[in-house]
Amino acid sequence: MGAVLREVEVRVLEALPPGQEAVGIEELARRLGLDQSPVAGAVATLAERGLVAVSEESEDEFRAGPKGSGWDGAEFPERRVARALVAAGGEAEIPALAQASGLSTKEVGESLRWLTQRGWAVKDGARLRAGAAWTAGEPALEPDELLLRFLAAHGPARRAAVLAAGEALDAALGRLAQRAGVVDRRERRRRLVAITVDGQALLAGGIESRHEVNELTTELLVSGRWREAEFRAYDVTLPGPAAVPGKEHPFRRILQETRRAFLEMGFEETRSPWVESAFWDFDALFQPQDHPARDMQDTFYVARPEKAALPDPALVDRVRRTHEDGGDTGSIGWRTRWDPALAERCVLRTHTTAATARALYADPKPPRRIFSVGPVFRRETIDYKHLPVFHQVDGIVIDANASFAMLLTLLTTFYRKMGFPRIQFRPAFFPYTEPSVEVFVYLESRQDWVEMGGAGVFRPEVTEPLGCTVPVLAWGLGLERVAMFRFGLSDIREIYLAHLDWLKETPLCRS
């Protein structure tokens, strides 16, 4: 029974020297006048059937490096400098040699070390004197120069080819050891093929070849020849080349999930400027003007623009009176003088609550639900758990029937949507909410409760000056923490100073 082989496989067997001498696949492809890939495919099949033996060897390959390939005529700069030096009478100011040699000042500077090492020149302060090697005319090319010239002329070459060309390779490489980028060396693995005894026996016995195709082509389809073709079976267990899709940042997914959660619950999205007036960031929220959070220590003040325009004077006046003595809100106020100059100051917003306060003033008529997601700024030194920029989601519910119970339920719903089923509420203090609450979620990984943010019912001192008389539920929740827990990060900087490996390896779906 004659064996059935594909045409290309038969040709490979026939092309191999009968004495079982190994041949590189590249060489084999050249002999057959074929591309490497079908030859490699044929070799693999033949090897599986024991008709050829495949071995691997590694060999260095050399090519001109980024620096060396940039030199005109593959000539080392020091040779050009030395030539210019001799032309100038054997001695010259170093800066003058740049123009004389046609090199940049930087290149001349870098060549000094090699001029000295080759004994081509001696440095004397800012002057250079030609060395003895150049007194009797231009010296012959040294091994490293010869190597570069060879590589520039012939392209990448294997060690064997370089040696065959008579180059003093080791001497050249020794010269270049301290000099990166002139000649690059990389390891090349090559596969060698030799015919086996079985292969020889098969050839001797006669083979029948079969028309087998790798790829279905338009030509095969149009001509109808596909009917005669046999499609080579693939090894379907082998992996394909790695591929990573373009995709959104893992933290972006948290931000988008947050937006979606509130949009689904009937919330309207709002926004406020990053450069914000102290009025909207603090005063409208009943944050006293001497509150430590307003210190230069904690808040980024903006030098340009320095001042923001205050809103409607009637609103400013209501806010002022509320701070000073409670105004019409039933409060006693902070009992300190309120200074409009401090309210005009520009800050980088310290929370997205400025956005919901603006939205509340723009339209305080219930029922409304509003949220905003975005970066906020605090004057923090960067370390593994602090950044001067982080993201928050702020939201408010303006509703005649709004209650603290409704707020706690809403926060529970939100964190359940974000993947935190266990939630705890503890009393807290914020200047602009009363009652106030801190939200904790239970982390299985830590076996502990972790604080996620603050919430409460806006104080009447906040809502009434803004024109709202019904309860307003409000919250401001940090989002980086959600991402850190979700993705198991221990360093918040990973989010913003991202390594592409992390971005690629974090899958789109929730782990």
Binding site: E268, P305, P367, V389, A405, F429
Partner: protein, 589 residues
């Protein structure tokens, strides 16, 4: 936020029982106190002033005596071991300085845990002591024109209580006094003026006020409080002997010790509200700590005004119980609200269906009836509030600007870019000098940067993209990254003086990549985001960021620049140590 260490033995002594640690922590969280943990604190006595200081858990004396500042680790003034104590470490809640000591915290917990109810009564008798305020202090240029004072007699101070008093004073200074700016407390027992920490045996060591500000550690620490003032008050006795120099320091001769049976407490400040509250906190805490003690009033005489202090009269607030219940979402009766408030140590009774609340003088945080609604909710327990769903129908509506960003990100992901997020604040160095964007002097700048790397709000996402490539030099190429986000420019026409633009930028890095690749991705992005509507054209752009002849600006139909694209100049790449060609583009959305 500062952390407070409450000695457990004293807390339980004042509370009247012990509580299991886990239960105490749980109840404190329900009460609104943030427990940091438990610790063993070692105590050390100062050989020069006798004050008891607490060291850390490493059983080494603290470097400075809490009383006089002497170095307790030095051979000259070695601290003597004085036992150890279990402490509860809590974060200070700035609004409740009345809870800052074991006495105040125990007073609160006795109510919250239903052992007592209503406000405790303290014995205050009329006293004969008076303070005359120099009319000169009423004029301009005086940093603290107001004073209140009280006398407490029958004290039984031991080391622990003395230390507690000192700590309370310190913490009230921080929370209510805003680091002594609004209120500064003195507790005095004596007549001569020798500043604390200087040897009373050497009378020549007494300092003048000016010397105190220049030389004494407390003087140099708090001198800023007097800046801009031409006159400062001194507290003197009838013979003219100086007692203290608020807010800086007390006299050595008036130092309170365990032998002290009587003290004069003075609080100076800017406004009566703060100093009245501070005095009430200190006086009532002392009376809680020393059960047999009582207070006496002091008459403060200003020109044309006389006050008798301490003013421990409660402040009356009338609360609508139905409205309170609606706000919390629990259908309370008036009696229930009154009872809950009594557990929070208020006096509360129901009068004509309303709750009449008498808020104790030591509570500084009740500005509005709403604050009492929260007190009732805390006493009820946040963990016992029922679930209530959102009722009204509203419609979810996204911000158009955010949606535009979402679409641009989708297009960029489809084009194979990995999204990165970089910090929105950066520096002029990174933006203009390193990246080579033209400096049009329109960036929003930070007045008080915390680092030279963040001095302005970004005007482009391109510097952040190049920085990201620089972080990933070792990662395989090609690299395709993109960022969509806001950039900011100063703009006087805007309300806040700055205009924001949503931009989309990307970078391609790798051998063989160049202008054509960036241009092709940019054209696709312009098309997918609809930014090419009305036509766009390209014009050569000569920025240092780009290789000459390989940069362009994108102009919309009206000739306005909406973006840039180009191959990054090797000079720029070298500054970022990037060794592969990079092409970038950025457009506004």
């Amino acid at each position: 936020m500062p952390v407070l260490g409450i000695p457990l033995d004293e807390l339980f002594a004042r509370y009247g029982a012990t509580i299991e640690p886990a239960e105490l922590e749980h109840q404190l969280h329900r009460f609104g106190c943030s427990v940091e943990g438990w610790a063993t604190a070692f105590r050390w006595r100062c050989p020069s002033c006798g004050t008891l200081s607490e060291g850390g858990e490493d059983a080494a004396p603290p470097p400075a005596c809490e009383g006089c500042g002497a170095d307790l680790r030095s051979a000259a003034t070695p601290g003597a071991p004085a036992g150890e104590v279990q402490v509860l470490r809590m974060e200070l809640l700035a609004v409740r300085p009345d809870l800052f000591g074991p006495e105040g915290l125990a007073r609160g917990l006795r109510g919250f845990l239903r052992r007592e109810s209503g406000a405790p009564r303290y014995r205050v008798e009329p006293g004969s002591f008076s303070v005359d305020v120099d009319p000169g202090l009423a004029g301009p240029g005086v940093h603290r024109p107001r004073i209140v004072a009280a006398i407490v007699r029958g004290l039984t101070l031991d080391d622990a209580r003395l230390r507690g008093l000192m700590k309370l004073q310190e913490n009230v200074h921080w929370a209510l006094g805003r680091d002594r700016k609004l209120a500064s407390i003195g507790v005095l027992d004596g007549l001569r003026f020798v500043p604390l920490g200087f040897d009373p045996a050497q009378p020549h060591s007494a300092l003048t006020p000016r010397e105190i500000l220049a030389k004494h550690p407390k003087g140099t620490a708090y001198a800023w409080l007097l800046e801009g003032n031409t006159k400062a008050p001194l507290l003197a006795d009838a013979k003219g002997g100086v007692l203290s120099m608020p807010p800086i320091i007390n006299s050595e001769a008036t130092r309170v010790t365990t032998a002290t049976k009587e003290v004069v407490i003075d609080v100076t400040g800017l406004a009566d509200r703060h100093i009245d509250k501070a005095l009430a906190m200190v006086v009532t805490s002392l009376l809680e700590a020393c059960p047999g003690a009582h207070a006496e009033t002091v008459t403060v005489r200003y020109a044309g005004e006389t006050r008798v202090t301490p003013d421990l009269a409660p402040h009356e607030v009338v609360l609508d119980p139905a409205a309170a219940g609606r706000l919390i979402g629990v259908p309370w009766t008036a009696d229930e609200v009154a009872e809950l408030l009594r557990f929070m140590r208020h006096d509360a009774t129901v009068v004509d269906g309303q709750v009449r609340v008498l808020v104790p003088a030591w509570r500084s945080d009740i500005l509005h009836p709403r604050d009492l609604v929260e007190d009732a909710a805390i006493a009820h327990g946040y963990d016992r509030i029922p679930a209530v769903g959102l009722a009204a129908a509203t419609i979810g509506l996204p911000q158009p600007r955010e949606e535009a960003a979402v679409r641009a990100r989708a297009a960029l992901a489809g084009l194979g870019f990995l999204e990165v997020m970089t910090l929105a604040i950066t520096s002029e160095e990174a933006t203009y000098r390193k990246t080579g964007l033209p400096d049009d002097d329109r960036q929003a700048t930070i007045e008080n940067p915390i680092s030279v790397e963040q001095t302005m709000v970004r005007v482009s996402v391109l510097p952040g993209l190049l920085e990201t490539l620089a972080i990933n030099l070792g990662h395989s190429y090609p690299q395709r990254i993109a960022e969509v986000g806001l950039v900011v420019h100063a703009d006087p026409a805007e309300e806040t003086g700055a205009a924001e633009t949503m931009v989309a930028g990307f970078a391609l890095a790798g051998d063989g990549l160049g202008y054509a690749d960036a241009r092709s991705a940019l054209d696709a992005l312009l098309r997918e985001t609809g930014r090419d509507a009305g036509g766009v054209r390209y014009r050569a752009l000569d920025w240092p960021l780009f290789i000459p002849g390989r940069g362009a600006e994108v102009l919309d139909g009206a000739g306005e620049r909406i973006g840039v694209v180009g191959e990054v100049h090797p000079e720029v790449l070298t500054r970022f140590r990037i060794i592969h060609p990079v092409a970038v583009a950025e457009i506004s959305l």
